[in-house]
């Protein structure tokens, strides 16, 4: 990797690697990446303690573009791998990234459990409502009527609602951003990274090549109400149900014990009478 990051005063630039993103010019994922650089610099994250885990998809290539330790795993398995990283070394900063197919379709079974466990990490979905890498099939967030290779007569399935889903699963931080608003997005990601617990950020990140929503999305974007109290889960859920509008910002945030804190508690309990020697464990079986 090229120049070292100055741990005292990192710049967003300093997190860039020599690897040039393979994304199509105009892909929303560039905006997400730029925002991530900013948030990392803002939080002065030391690349040696940063692990970026991704799945498979265009978005899955992100780790290669960030100076860090990266794990480009398999399709849909960002969260299990991140769980393992956190188990081995809770002090690492862990960011998971992937597409809406990766996260909500093949990997959808892991999300409720990551939300329950509340490990201290940030999970960013780059939601383009299509499968970019496999050339534009419909995804779990594609609208009804979406026409593409596998839905030549139009999609007949209702799209899922990522924000409502994550709030109902009990994720302790749920936010939404837009790749076309990188400054606001960087703020949001920074807040997610600062949150102790599982922080979910749904980023609307258009796929210019297979599902160009650059015109359709901006008119639907809105701010969350100024008086919105992110600790009010029911209100946050109600706001998430109005899908004609796409509010940006933190829908929901609560502080509850993280997975790592729970693990530390268990270890303390187990070691209440000291750390046994191997022979002592053997002796239980004589």
């Amino acid at each position: 990797m090229s120049t070292a990051v100055d741990a005292q005063a990192p710049t967003p630039q300093s997190y860039k690697t020599d690897e040039h993103p393979i994304w199509c010019p105009g892909c929303g994922d560039f905006g997400v990446l730029d925002s991530l650089y900013k948030s990392l610099a803002g939080a002065k994250v030391d690349p040696k303690n940063l692990v970026v885990v991704s799945g498979i998809g265009c978005s899955g290539r992100t780790p290669g573009f960030i100076k860090s330790y990266g794990f480009h795993s398999v399709h849909g398995r960002v969260l299990p791998v991140a769980l393992g990283v956190k188990l081995a070394n809770p002090s690492l900063t862990v960011i998971g990234v992937g597409g809406d197919g990766d996260g909500f379709a093949i990997g959808g079974g892991h999300i409720p459990h990551a939300a329950r466990r509340n490990m201290d990490m940030t999970y960013i979905i780059m939601d383009n409502s299509t499968y970019g890498l496999t050339k534009g099939q419909y995804s779990p967030t594609s609208p009804v009527g979406f026409q593409a290779g596998s839905t030549p007569y139009g999609n007949i399935e209702q799209p899922l609602n990522p924000i409502a889903m994550l709030i109902s699963y009990g994720a302790s931080f749920v936010g939404q951003g837009y790749s076309g608003k990188p400054r606001e997005l960087a703020d949001l990601i920074s807040r997610a990274m600062a949150h102790p617990g599982f922080a979910f950020v749904n980023v609307i990140s258009p796929c210019i090549t297979f599902y160009n929503t650059y015109k359709a999305i901006p008119p639907r974007l809105t701010e969350l109400p100024a008086d919105h109290d992110p600790s009010d889960q029911a209100k946050a859920f109600a706001l998430a149900l109005h899908t004609d509008r796409l509010p940006l910002g933190v829908f929901y945030q609560s502080r509850r014990p993280t997975f790592e804190e729970g693990v530390a508690e268990v270890i303390k309990k187990a070691q209440a009478s000291g750390r046994p020697r191997l022979e002592e464990i053997f002796a239980e079986f004589s």
Binding site: M1, A4, E19, P47, K48, N49, L50, V51, V53, I56, R61, P63, G64, K67, S68, Y69, G70, F71, H72, S73, V74, R77, L79, P80, V81, A82, L83, G84, V85, K86, L87, A88, N89, S91, L92, G109, H110, P112, H113, V263, V266, I267, K269, A270, Q271, R275, P276, L278, I281, F282, F285, S286
Partner: protein
């Protein structure tokens, strides 16, 4: 009644079986008998079949006790303890001529067979009338066994104090009383049999472990600190054991949402520097294959235990089979070199899992460890482990020079690259599932690179194959006329069959590798030369190891397959040896028995 016993009891070799209603303490009676026999100085080997029912149903527990090292669960039953008619009916056919039947005469009256010796004992009424607690009938029965066969009563007493101590002095006293009520009762009956044990010959301390427990202790000893898994019979007790023990050592067990998540977490944890493992059985192992490939291509140490049960699909969850060898060796897509090893005995579970972690670390790849239901759940006496037998190996870390322009997948003569872990400055890299170059940079369109990288991954096999040769055991004659090749949990029963066949004058020897993939080709070649026939016994239908060996050797192996969810008995293998020997000696060496080497 005997009170004294002679001091040399090497010749002791008896099979005890307890049967009765599930949930009525049959299993714990068997376990207490086992523990007492082991503490008294005998080698023990248990065998149990589980009812599929969660509660109730018939339960039984068998233990063989011997003054010599035990290799199998034995043949006929010497002593049957039947708590009810069903147990009697189910097991009476397995009792040898001259064997002993002890039964609860309050529950039923046995229609006595002439060749057997009967002791009807009113276990239930002794328990209810003398102790006032019906379930102490189990302890009354232990007292009967102890007194009748001279299994040291003080050893039983000690165990009862240990087991019931937590429940308070009254409970301990009631149980001790029950033990003596049983002993007292039988002391007044005439002894009709000749079974007497007394203190056993073993002086050294040993542990009483199931295969799964032994495996867990080995994992702890070698430094495993992260376990991720999903409940499945017959592997769940590994997770439960480690969930209790790992936190004491600063580690942790997470029960994931499925087996894909389990192996994902293992890879993530290992990537971040921890020794990690998962254990499962067939259905879960099937789910893990994609991730196993990721471990191979991203070169991440990982240990995956498969305690095999009968498949396919849900199959027979509590029954044993050696049916997952194909999947272990070839499961997953692409050219995907992983190491497959098989555990051979309860003791080997300890050292075997240590070696598995060592190989995972040394070669930076997933190691699949095959056990099975029969091995995972049987108990045996094991000498207190000697850790110096398997020195712990850690993964190769980058030197300071190697961290300058660090190449995670650098080509090296031994095909193993320095692996840095998060937290190390300058060691950042991408653990990459796409085909990649030495730096980890994706090279998904570089045709020549794919060959180079695949060569690198397969290159590790040279050294592994050496180890496979070194870890191959030969029992009986090293250059026999009739050879046997086995794998996994059949080691003991094959050894016993070989001993029996040698005593009968046959020229027999058995080869038993511990690493099955890659195969110990040198050892196999040497062994096959000069044999007239080779039998491959496997607890599966199709002969999976035989099939793998046929790919490497033009040899007409004789398969011996058992596919009823139960392990082999020594006699089944001995019979095959005799049948094959008869063919060989009659000169009727049909092509089926011809070595084509």
């Amino acid at each position: 009644m005997p009170s004294n016993s002679n001091s040399n009891h090497r010749d002791v070799d008896y099979v005890f079986r307890v049967g009765g209603e599930g949930g009525e303490g049959v299993i714990s009676t068997g376990e207490m008998l086992t523990q007492t026999l082991a503490r008294a100085g005998y080698d023990i080997y248990t065998f149990r079949t589980y009812p599929a029912e969660i509660k109730g149903g018939h339960a039984n527990y068998q233990v063989r006790a011997s003054g010599k090292v035990l290799l199998s669960y034995g043949a006929a039953v010497d002593v049957l303890l039947a708590f009810n008619q069903e147990a009697y009916d189910k097991h009476i056919g397995d009792v040898r001529a001259g064997g002993v039947v002890l039964y609860d005469s309050d529950s039923f009256t046995a229609a006595a067979r002439e060749s057997l010796i009967y002791y009807p004992v009113p276990l239930t009424s002794l328990a209810t009338e003398k102790i006032g607690v019906k379930l102490t009938k189990n302890i009354v029965a232990l007292g009967v066994l102890g007194q009748l066969f001279d299994i040291p009563l003080p050893t039983f007493e000690h165990l009862l104090k240990e087991r019931f101590g937590r429940k308070g002095e009254t409970v301990v006293q009631k149980n001790l009383q029950a033990l003596h009520v049983g002993a007292e009762y039988i002391a007044h009956q005439r002894k009709q049999d000749a079974i007497l044990l007394g203190p056993g010959p073993r002086q050294t301390k040993s542990l009483i472990l199931s295969g799964n427990e032994s495996l867990c202790l080995g994992a702890i000893a070698v430094g495993c600190r992260v376990y991720a898994g999903y409940p499945i019979t017959p592997a769940s007790d590994i997770m439960e054991f480690l969930a209790k023990e790992l936190p004491k050592l600063g580690g942790f067990v997470v029960q994931t949402e499925d087996e894909i998540a389990a192996i994902g977490a293992v890879l993530g944890a290992s990537f971040a520097g921890a020794k990690a493992m998962t254990a499962t059985s067939g259905p879960g192992f099937s789910l893990m294959t994609e991730m196993m490939g990721l471990g191979v291509v991203a070169e991440i140490p990982a240990v995956i235990v498969n305690v095999q049960r009968v498949g396919p699909s849900t199959g027979m969850p509590t029954k044993t089979e050696q049916g997952d060898l194909y999947l272990a060796c070839y499961g997953g897509h692409g050219n995907c070199p992983r190491i497959v090893m098989a555990l051979t005995s309860v003791e080997d579970c300890f050292y075997g899992i240590m070696r598995a972690f060592n190989m995972a670390e040394q070669f930076q790849l997933p190691v699949v460890v095959l056990s099975d239901a029969s091995l995972g759940h049987r108990k045996a006496t094991v000498p207190v482990p000697d850790l110096s037998r398997v020195p712990v190996i850690e993964r190769r870390k980058p030197s300071l020079e190697e961290l300058v322009n660090y190449k995670r997948y650098q080509y090296t003569p031994e095909h193993v690259s320095p692996m840095s872990v998060p937290g190390v400055s300058g060691g950042g890299y991408i653990a990459e599932g796409l085909e990649h170059d030495e730096t980890g940079y994706p090279a998904a369109s570089n045709h020549e690179n794919h060959l180079r990288a695949t060569n690198k991954r397969y290159g590790k096999f040279h050294a592994v194959e050496q180890m496979a040769n070194e870890l191959t055991r030969i029992y009986g004659e090293p250059h026999p006329e009739i050879g046997i090749i086995g794998w996994g949990s059949t080691e003991g029963v094959i050894r016993e069959a070989v001993q029996l066949a040698q005593e009968k004058g046959y020229s027999v020897g058995a080869l038993h590798p511990k690493i099955l993939y890659p195969q110990p080709l040198a050892k196999l070649t040497e062994f096959l030369q000069g044999t007239k026939a080779v039998i491959i016994p496997e607890v599966n239908y199709s002969g999976q190891f035989a099939t793998l060996l046929r790919k490497r050797f033009a040899y007409d192996f004789v398969q011996l397959n058992k596919c009823i969810g139960l392990p082999f008995t020594p006699k089944e293998i001995l019979d095959k040896i005799e049948e094959v020997a008869a063919h060989v000696h009659s000169g009727r060496r049909s092509s089926a028995y011809a070595a084509k080497l």
